[in-house]
């Protein structure tokens, strides 16, 4: 299992036609802003369970949804999603 930037374990993404694994920092960004899954889901127009799936890496979003998530957090999409594990905060590696 890969570790996220906040140190939590994440299961392997189960979706993606070619089995790609997508890592994300949605939970961290959400926590920084103090918003719940329901609030984020309502803003994005998805079910709140889908936000949970996204955070756990059990679902890879479409390009449209990924861009909307990045737009909501006002960060580039590569800050939210990555094909490689995000480094730990304070590890000294570039984020």
């Amino acid at each position: 299992m890969a570790e996220t930037a906040n140190g939590s374990k994440r299961s392997r993404a189960k979706t993606g036609t070619s089995g790609e694994q997508i890592f994300n920092r949605i939970a961290m960004l959400r926590a920084e802003r103090g918003i719940s899954r329901r609030q984020l889901a309502e803003t994005l127009g998805v079910h709140y369970q889908t936000v949970g799936y996204l955070e756990r890496g059990e679902y890879s979003p479409s390009l449209h949804l990924a861009l909307r998530i990045a737009q909501y957090f006002e960060v580039p999409v590569e800050v939210v999603f990555s094909t490689a594990p995000f480094p730990r905060i304070g590890s000294g590696e570039n984020t």
């Binding site: 719940s36 329901r38 889908t50 949970g52 059990e58 679902y59 979003p61 949804l65």
Partner: protein
């Protein structure tokens, strides 16, 4: 909203919109979601539905081959129970006709459920075809009365399998931080 005399009449779209909202509220009702949040509980429901479905088929077979007093009542009662359990499975899996607001993940899941269901019924139909051909080639007599119960069970399996697949495979629903933990 239209008026006719002094009576206000809702347009058809207003009625449809209200029905959709009511359906959505029923499916997303907090108590209902908490009841079926755990996969283990949903799997028990699916197992119960499977058992009752087989029992219904058996009751129909018994009534058609060796009718007994109250046989049709037993069959109808079991069929009603199948409908009730099936409705709960559909709600648990959010597989409800007319339910709108599915997001991309849910649509992808339902699409996958339909594909798996189609593959299953294809395999079963092939198996039935082979069995029929083999029986025809032998002297084994199969009563025609067995056809209706077999088709009845097969019909229920075919129609219910997508929601059954979703109810069986979806992981536990994770409550939001603001929600109470699952019971």
């Amino acid at each position: 909203m239209m008026t006719k005399g002094s009576v206000r009449m809702d347009s058809r779209s207003d009625v449809q919109s209200r029905m959709r909202d009511q359906l959505h509220a029923a499916v997303e009702d907090e108590k209902t979601r908490r009841r079926w949040a755990r996969r283990g509980r949903r799997r028990l429901l699916v197992a119960a539905e499977g058992a009752v479905t087989l029992g219904t088929g058996a009751a129909l077979l018994a009534q058609l081959t060796r009718p007994f007093p109250g046989g049709w009542f037993v069959f109808l009662a079991l069929a009603l129970l199948v409908a009730v359990l099936g409705t709960q499975i559909n709600i648990a899996a959010r597989w409800v006709a007319g339910y709108q607001g599915l997001d991309e993940r849910q649509r992808a899941e339902q699409s996958r459920a339909r594909i798996v269901s189609h593959r299953l019924t294809t395999v079963l139909l092939f198996a039935l075809m082979v069995a029929a051909m083999l029986l025809t080639a032998t002297d084994i007599e199969v009563p025609i009365a067995a056809l209706a119960p077999a088709l009845f069970v097969f019909f229920l399996l075919h129609s219910a399998f997508p929601s059954v697949y979703l109810a069986w495979t979806q992981p536990d629903e994770v409550p939001d931080e603001e929600d109470a933990p699952l019971g």
